[in-house]
Symmetry: C2
Subunit: 197 residues, 2 copies
């Protein structure tokens, strides 16, 4: 892949490392960036540099942020007493987009996994236990994935927790989902958790 220019080749090679982009789409993206140099390329370079030099993990919850404590932990508008435990930052963002949870979060940074040798100390579980006491938490919502590892982690955490209410997300038919396309496990879960109309 030579365009006869080192700087451009280097930029294309770096862009091709992004998830969702390969060499071909990286070339397209770079040509697009060059055409929109002042509108996109330079602002994007600046935004990346700014994020790259300031981004870190919130010391309290593990969210990514550009200060020691993230905006959600600092916000006085968030309801105290509730912590929503998620696997990673992408899950926290997904919860925030639904804008239905108004408490604070705790990002584990993964799930317990015997295969990958991830134990409780590799995750942010000790810090979660500290926070429950320090922040007067009354309810812990375990919003972990409905995978084997996610559910194992949820059970482990539920066992460790002191005297607080522990809940987890409901399982069932996704909104807009058609029964025909759902797996047996989801239908079983949805039937077992059926509600009176």
């Amino acid at each position: 892949m030579s365009n006869g220019n080192e700087d451009l080749d280097h930029l294309i090679a770096l862009m091709a490392k992004l998830p969702g982009l390969g060499p071909r789409s990286a070339r397209r993206a770079v040509l697009h960036l060059i055409k929109k140099r002042s509108l996109v390329l330079l602002p994007l370079a600046d935004a990346m540099h700014k994020v790259g030099s300031t981004v870190r993990e919130c010391l309290n919850c593990g969210n990514v942020c550009t200060a020691d404590i993230c905006d959600i932990c600092l916000s006085e508008k968030r309801r105290t007493g509730q912590i929503c435990v998620v696997e990673d930052v992408a899950d926290l963002w997904a919860m925030e987009r639904s804008a239905v949870f108004h408490g604070r979060y705790h990002v584990l940074g993964g799930t317990l996994s015997a295969l990958d040798a991830v134990g409780p100390d590799e995750l942010r579980i000790p810090k979660l236990l500290d926070r429950i006491t320090a922040e007067d938490i009354t309810e812990v919502i375990l919003a972990l994935g409905a995978t084997i590892d996610g559910q194992t982690t949820a059970h482990y955490i539920a066992d460790q927790l002191p005297d607080v209410t522990v809940t987890s997300l409901a399982q069932g038919v996704p909104v807009g989902g058609e029964l025909d396309y759902l797996d047996d496990g989801t239908i079983t879960a949805a039937l077992n958790a059926r509600k009176a109309l």
Copy 2:
């Protein structure tokens, strides 16, 4: 789309403007970048800044480069006497990847188009005529797209050219192509241009 952090939101919004990325894949890409801050994010920001502050069009051929004249025009290894005319820089890169053409290029910057009001002076056609005299060109290869606009442009250029050999890319069955999936026009062109084995 709020992650509770302005800098991150800004970066995601800019990434989502890239071709091939939407809001969801931009978020994924940004999380990936944050995780690989020193390996990808900061080098990418630097590479973008470098390209953004130096990239321009080659004054001779219209290729993108980081100097006034591009490496291909400057290279002494390129065969003189041949110019390959392409629509845009992406086409030049595609030709270079096939590594089969060893002459120099001329990037038109588009095609003639009555609908979009693109006339000869909007393209780099006058400069092409200048170069044919100045660089002692004996063959002009018109490597334009097999579209209506591309072929109109090719005919227009062929009419303007002084006494040089004018060729265009062959049309036919693409390598790896199956007849079953080809359109009528391609099969007609391939049959008309059939070769003795």
